[in-house]
């Protein structure tokens, strides 16, 4: 392929908006629409839910909503779809997409599911050390829920080459979802690290959706964008050399500027000269950015280095529970009442023998977000919420947090505002650890389906 390849974003996370995906499908003139719907703990959370709820199909809970929004326009235009909505059940997601295609009247559409990232049963023998703390991964055996390797773009490109119009995967590195169409359409060699570095850099700019088109960006008076309630998801017009223009559908809100692109370029990046992905090591330090027109930023010069021999593995483990709640003070003296309330809770936790690994009692409005980084001369707020959280081994201990906040209703202090406690105030903690696995130990498998 020698012409420009148009790749659009359909989601940056599970809870993302649906309508910008529809906008890109209907008006983005896309060759590919790509969805990223997983966070670090998504797979483990899905495993926990699947154990409890046998009816949970194990793929993106918004699969139907997202596909119904985009399938008509994508099928009409010939836009192909790449998505990691398969979570722990890519086959189930593919089967559901086939059913939706038939329901919408599209027959003969080839769908592929990419499996192989789940290595829960093998992870302890395939991996050595936990990256975060250097301990052997074997120490995680008693609490292990799930482990998945981050696959690269190659199996997706293989499915596209086999004629799949829709490819649905489990865990794949986020930029690889967006780079796979480049690999396939431009016929890049998977070991051509210069081109893959450039392409993966573009994938990185797309993977967080609206964060490059004006989302997570506006700050009144400093960084204003038009209609921040009407953001579009990004589109990359990619050239065969891996350079691209980042843009969005005309008439939408937000902006694509040097500022929005710079901010996203370093998002979740550690060493900008060595951004590790399954496909290539990306070097952002050689990037050239140019405002090529309104809401058009040309990105070139992103470099690449040979990929590493290993893939990253995320290992999810049960780590107990968090109990949390909050209650409120306002008016003159709000903070002094909140401070006494904190003291009361600390004493109550001692009296009821709360067994916690960590307890945090903050004043929302003063220091609950920045914690220790709050300046000592921060002004006293007119309203303040006392927010309390504890991490415990058992749910029984976590429940004590909410029960002691309940006590503040009639046994607390003057002017205490409080919610009626009908929401669940405990949640299970899934700790996520990382390790490395030799890439040849994690082969992908592809299944094909047809509507």
């Amino acid at each position: 392929m020698s012409r420009t390849l148009r790749i659009g974003s359909g989601a940056a996370w599970w809870g993302d908006r649906i309508e910008p995906a529809r906008l890109n499908a209907e008006r983005g003139e896309l060759d590919y629409l790509c969805f990223e719907t997983m966070a670090e703990a998504t797979v483990s959370a899905a495993q926990v839910r699947a154990r409890r709820d046998p009816a949970f199909p194990g793929y993106d809970t918004y699969l139907d909503d997202r596909m119904r929004a985009v399938l008509p326009a994508c099928m009409a235009r010939g836009t192909r779809i790449v998505s990691n909505q398969g979570w722990i059940n890519p086959d189930g997601a593919a089967a559901r997409i086939v059913a939706l295609l038939r329901e919408l009247g599209f027959s003969g559409v080839k769908v592929a599911s990419v499996n192989g990232s789940l290595i829960t049963d093998r992870v302890l023998s395939l991996t050595d050390r936990i990256l975060e703390n250097g301990q052997p991964t074997a120490t995680l055996a008693p609490t292990l829920i799930s482990a998945e390797a981050y696959l690269g773009a190659a199996p997706i490109a293989e499915a596209l080459a086999a004629g799949a119009r829709i490819v649905v995967t489990g865990r794949v590195a986020d930029p690889s979802i967006f780079m796979a169409p480049m690999l396939h359409e431009f016929g890049w060699d998977p070991l051509d690290h210069a081109r893959l570095g450039a392409g993966n850099g573009i994938g990185h700019l797309l993977e967080c959706g609206a964060q490059v088109t004006g989302g997570y960006f506006p700050d009144p008076g400093f960084k204003d964008v038009p209609e921040p309630w009407n953001l579009a998801f990004p589109i990359a017009e990619v050239q065969p050399d891996g350079s691209a223009v980042i843009t969005k559908v005309a008439g939408s809100g937000g902006a694509v500027t040097l500022q929005t692109v710079k901010e996203q370029l370093l998002y979740e990046v550690h060493d900008p000269a060595n951004y590790l992905t399954p496909d290539v090591v990306v070097d952002f330090t050689t990037v050239r950015l140019e405002q090529a027109g309104p809401d058009r930023v040309r990105v070139s010069g992103i470099g690449g280095k040979p990929r590493t021999p290993t893939l990253k593995v995320s290992i999810g483990c049960t780590e107990g529970f968090i109990g949390e709640d909050m209650f409120f003070y306002a008016g003159p003296g709000a903070l002094r009442r909140a401070q006494l309330a904190k003291r009361i809770l600390e004493e109550r936790f001692r009296i009821v023998g709360l067994q916690a690994e960590d307890v945090r009692i903050d004043f929302l409005g003063l220091n609950a977000i920045h914690g220790a980084a709050t300046p000592p001369d921060a002004p006293e707020p007119y309203e303040v919420a006392v927010r309390v959280a504890a991490r415990t081994r058992t749910r029984e201990e976590a429940i004590k947090v909410g029960r002691e906040v309940d006590g503040m209703a009639v046994s607390g202090i003057a002017h205490t505002g409080k919610r009626v406690p009908h929401q669940d105030r405990t949640r299970e903690v899934i700790g996520v650890w990382s390790s490395l696995v030799p890439r040849e130990q994690v082969p992908a498998t592809i299944r094909y389906w047809e509507s």
Binding site: E40, K262, E263, V269, T286, R288, E319, I369
Partner: protein, 117 residues
């Protein structure tokens, strides 16, 4: 004169496990050397007053007039186990906007949304 960083640069934070990366972007190329000279890793960490428990590593990226600060031990033990309401630390980047930068008179015209008192 002393000027808050918010007039000199914008910032964004991202998460990976217990590590937050906080990137700081000069509003204009002329302001970038002020960041390089004054916003050292040590001063950056000190500004967070103990909220960053581990090492801060600084990566200047001249091509985009930015500095990336990789802050270990900044997310309460990790996104999934953190007791902080903002467990991804997406608001964490705002704190550095209060860092005070010494700006020479010749560069005041480069500052964003700034009026001299």
């Amino acid at each position: 004169m002393k000027v808050k960083l918010q007039h000199v640069a914008h910032a964004r934070s991202g998460d990976k496990g217990d590590t937050s990366n906080i990137a700081v972007f000069a509003y204009t190329p002329a302001l970038y050397p002020l960041l390089v000279e004054q916003l050292t890793a040590e001063r950056f960490k000190a500004h967070y007053r103990g909220a960053i428990k581990g090492e801060v590593i600084r990566y200047p990226v001249e091509a985009i007039h930015a500095i990336n600060f990789v802050c270990h031990g900044a997310l309460g033990g990790g996104v999934s186990r953190s007791l902080c309401l903002d467990n991804y630390g997406k608001a964490l980047s705002a704190a550095i906007l209060g860092f005070e930068v010494e700006v020479p008179g010749g560069l005041v015209k480069e500052l964003k949304n700034f009026t001299e008192a």
